[in-house]
């Protein structure tokens, strides 16, 4: 039987600052954010006509992300509004998830708690990001459709006869549940994938430390990179869907 492995959903507390407990994943969230900010500001300050390696890499990422968001919205102004959210989330989660694959980081412990924990395995962070974006896409729907257009999506009394009205009303109520379910599925998609990847590699490492964990790490690497992009892609798609539902109602109204 393999040695007992510690699996906890909650990140471990490292130290307290005036009654505010700093957890290991929070520490790394801030650290990665600061590293990214420094690198990007540094590069943006000294842009060159002929790009160096770092600038070339960043330019490729930014242009690729812009083209992708533009492919979803097909509109310059909307792309400019949604692009910062998309690029920031994608870049942050890409770096955060890949940090787990730096060898030796997980070994360091501070007062019985591991120093490193991937930011994406902290459900609080994912939930806050998802909920903030949830509020944004509700606001997009309200601003683009007007308050009555927005409420009319959920309390829908339109229809030709009484049966159609009842059906539309029931479907509108189901939309409310659908919106709430989006928060759960969106946040647990990222959290579940990254957390499961870490747990499975820990379990495999405790069962057989040599060679056996390698394919599981490869799978973890694959899902880390893919999920880092799926999360912002879905958020941007939800933004776009919030606008489109509005345009449909104006079309039928006019």
């Amino acid at each position: 039987m393999a040695a007992q492995i510690e699996i906890s959903l909650k990140p471990e507390t490292l130290f307290d600052v005036a009654g505010f407990s700093v957890t290991n994943s929070m520490l790394w969230t801030s650290l990665i954010a600061i590293i990214l900010m420094v690198v990007f500001v540094f590069t943006a300050r000294r842009l060159k006509e002929v790009p160096g390696r770092l600038q070339l890499f960043i330019e490729t990422f930014v242009v690729g992300a812009w083209d992708f968001v533009h492919g979803i919205f097909k509109d310059e102004k909307l792309t400019a509004r949604a692009f910062p959210m998309f690029a920031t989330l994608a870049l942050f989660f890409l770096c955060a998830n890949l940090f787990s694959f730096i060898p030796g980081l997980g070994v360091i412990t501070v007062s019985d708690a591991p120093l490193y924990r991937s930011p994406a395995t902290n459900y609080s962070l994912i939930f806050v990001l998802t909920f903030a974006n949830f509020i944004i896409w509700q606001l997009i729907a309200i601003v683009s459709g007007g308050f009555f257009g927005y409420a009319g999506k959920f309390f829908n009394f339109s229809g030709g006869n009484i049966m159609e009205r009842c059906l539309n009303f029931a479907l509108g109520l189901l939309d409310i549940i659908g919106e709430i379910a989006k928060i759960v599925s969106l946040s647990f998609r990222l959290f579940g994938n990254i957390f499961a990847g870490e747990v499975i590699s820990a379990v495999m490492l405790s069962i057989a430390p040599l060679f056996i964990p390698i394919p599981f790490w490869m799978l973890g690497l694959l899902s880390s990179v893919i999920q880092a992009f799926v999360f912002p892609i879905l958020i941007v798609i939800f933004f776009q869907m919030a606008i489109i539902t509005k345009e449909k109602t104006t079309e039928t109204a006019s």
């Binding site: 492919g71 759960v184 599925s185 647990f188 998609r189 579940g192 499961a196 799926v230 892609i233 879905l234």
Partner: protein, 76 residues
């Protein structure tokens, strides 16, 4: 069977059975999308976003199973 064993069994069954349907469904979504991309490569980008939406909706049931598993293992 004591409660602890029943919990472990329930958690395994919840995610194990819950992942069957979405696994089949996502395979169908990806396969059909690739088929369409092969037939008409010029609409590749548009199909890709549609495919992601379809996959997200297909995947959500397995994510609910995962949530239930976490609840059984860690909350109760």
């Amino acid at each position: 069977m004591d409660v602890e064993a029943a919990k472990l069994l329930a958690a395994g069954l919840a995610i194990g059975i819950g992942a069957i349907g979405p696994g089949i469904g996502e395979g169908i979504v990806a396969g059909k999308a690739l088929e369409a991309m092969g037939r008409n490569p010029s609409i590749k980008d548009e199909l890709f976003t549609r495919m992601i939406i379809g996959m997200a909706i297909t995947e959500s049931t397995s994510i609910y199973a995962l949530v239930i598993t976490f609840l059984i293992l860690f909350a109760f």
